[in-house]
């Protein structure tokens, strides 16, 4: 059992980091601004896992007091990530608003096309 748990814990790390890399790649490598934003949110959500994964204690339950349980997973990361999610959606909304403005100004939301249009400075 512990062996599987250990395996899972490593597996969570691996997936988390994979998500991070993938998200970052999309942000850096894709020119389409909306896709950039999606990549950004993947990148951020991977961080959620970085915090939430370790908060889990095997055999413990969700941190809601209950007479049947004594062991609870760590509530602090939950609170932090709740905040982080909200920050994430705020960023996303603002980013989209900017994309809309840019589209109105340039008629495209492909970064490279914009740079071709009025010179990368």
């Amino acid at each position: 059992m512990d062996l599987i748990n250990a395996a899972l814990s490593k597996y969570v790390y691996v997936v988390t980091i994979f998500l991070m890399v993938a998200g970052l790649f999309v942000v850096v490598a894709r020119a389409n601004m909306i896709k950039k934003l999606v990549g950004l949110s993947i990148f951020q959500s991977s961080v959620y896992l970085l915090y939430l994964g370790p908060a889990k204690i095997f055999g413990a339950t969700a941190p809601i007091l209950d007479s049947d349980y004594t062991a609870y997973s760590n509530p602090l990361p939950h609170a932090l990530i709740l905040t982080a999610i909200v920050v994430g959606v705020g960023t996303m909304a603002l980013g989209l608003a900017l994309v809309v403005r840019i589209h109105e100004a340039y008629g495209t939301i492909e970064e490279d096309e914009i740079f071709e249009e009025d010179g990368e400075e």
Binding site: L19, M20, L24, F25, I42, P54, K56, I64, L96, A97
Partner: protein
């Protein structure tokens, strides 16, 4: 069993991510993103983070998706021409990943109860939620009380985002021309939808209220409730048309709610100061400390609800009206 689910979910997560990275049709990307959020939410449940799961579900799968679709509509983008693989980006991302692996190998393993994070600060919360504050949902206790100031900051972030989007997208004055009667709401054609919406609306709002006030005992709280309430209005706007939505939730009101919630939250803090406590020290709000904490948490959660729902509705209006 639980383990099996976990493995499966994580694997799926990876698969969906690959799909998102490679997919060119942006609509598909957005839908996949929504699925991705649901998966993450489920993963969070597995990790015992039920409150976070609820939030991610309502925000990631809900609001973000709506916003992204609106963005797509406004920028009239469907898909974009593929581009030559970006080596620099790949190398950069991989380098970062490498650093992470290298560093994380020596981190304490998951699930072990003897890790520092379970030993040092958290126990006080798990203890105190019951004894000091009297709120069964420990996350709520941490969120609204122990680290209530972070939550004020979080609400402020929503406030900033809302104001910023309004500043950027709002045409000249707050009231842009009310939509003409002949405008066709997105899906007004479908009778089932129209009736269905009418039927479901009360339940959505009811659920929102439940999430709001049950937040002390079960998963939930002002933020999730706010999003859910907003989604009711958004659904209304999508199916029955903006005009109806505006009549039920006037934009001006929505805009006013954004700062109002922050004022309620901060005002609670100021009140505690005036009563001789520190900022957001709820205990002073009532004769009996626990009463004070209850009152304080209720007030700030209300503030969060007001700001969040107001913001989400305003965002919806801002994006949709920018379109015409």
């Amino acid at each position: 069993m639980e383990l099996l689910i976990s493995f499966a979910l994580f694997t799926l997560l990876g698969v969906v991510t690959v799909a998102i990275v490679s997919q060119r049709n942006l609509v598909a990307v957005v839908i996949l993103g929504s699925i991705y959020s649901f998966l993450i939410a489920s993963v969070m449940v597995v990790l015992d983070a039920v409150d976070v799961a609820l939030t991610e579900a309502s925000v990631g799968a809900g609001i973000s998706t709506v916003l992204l679709l609106a963005g797509l509509k406004l920028t009239r983008t469907r898909d974009y021409r593929g581009q030559d693989p970006n080596v620099v980006g790949a190398l950069l991302a991989i380098a970062v990943g490498g650093a992470l692996v290298w560093g994380s190998l020596v981190l304490p393993p998951f699930g072990a109860p003897d890790a520092p994070i379970h030993q040092h600060v958290a126990p006080r919360y798990i203890e105190g939620a019951g004894t000091e504050i009297g709120v069964p949902n420990i996350v709520t206790a941490v969120l609204a009380d122990y680290r209530g100031f972070d939550t004020l900051g979080e609400t402020t972030v929503v406030f900033v985002a809302g104001m910023a989007v309004l500043l950027l997208l709002r045409r000249s004055s707050l009231q842009s021309a009310p939509p003409s009667d002949d405008e066709q709401p997105a899906m007004s054609g479908d009778l089932v939808l129209r009736v269905g919406t009418k039927l479901i609306l009360p339940f959505i709002l009811l659920f929102a209220l439940y999430v709001q006030f049950h937040g002390d005992y079960g998963p939930g709280g002002g933020f999730q409730a706010g999003v859910i309430a907003a989604s009711a209005v958004i659904l209304l706007g999508l199916t029955l048309g903006l005009r109806r939505a505006r009549r039920i939730a006037p934009p001006a009101l929505a805009h006013a709610m954004i700062p109002l919630g922050v004022l309620i939250f901060a005002g609670t803090g100021v009140a505690t100061m005036l009563l001789g406590g520190d900022f957001l020290e709820y205990a002073v709000l009532a004769h009996e400390a626990k009463e004070g904490h209850h009152l304080g948490i209720m007030l700030v959660e209300a503030g969060v609800l007001v700001t969040v729902s107001g913001t989400m509705i305003s965002l919806f209006y801002a994006f949709v009206e920018r379109g015409r």
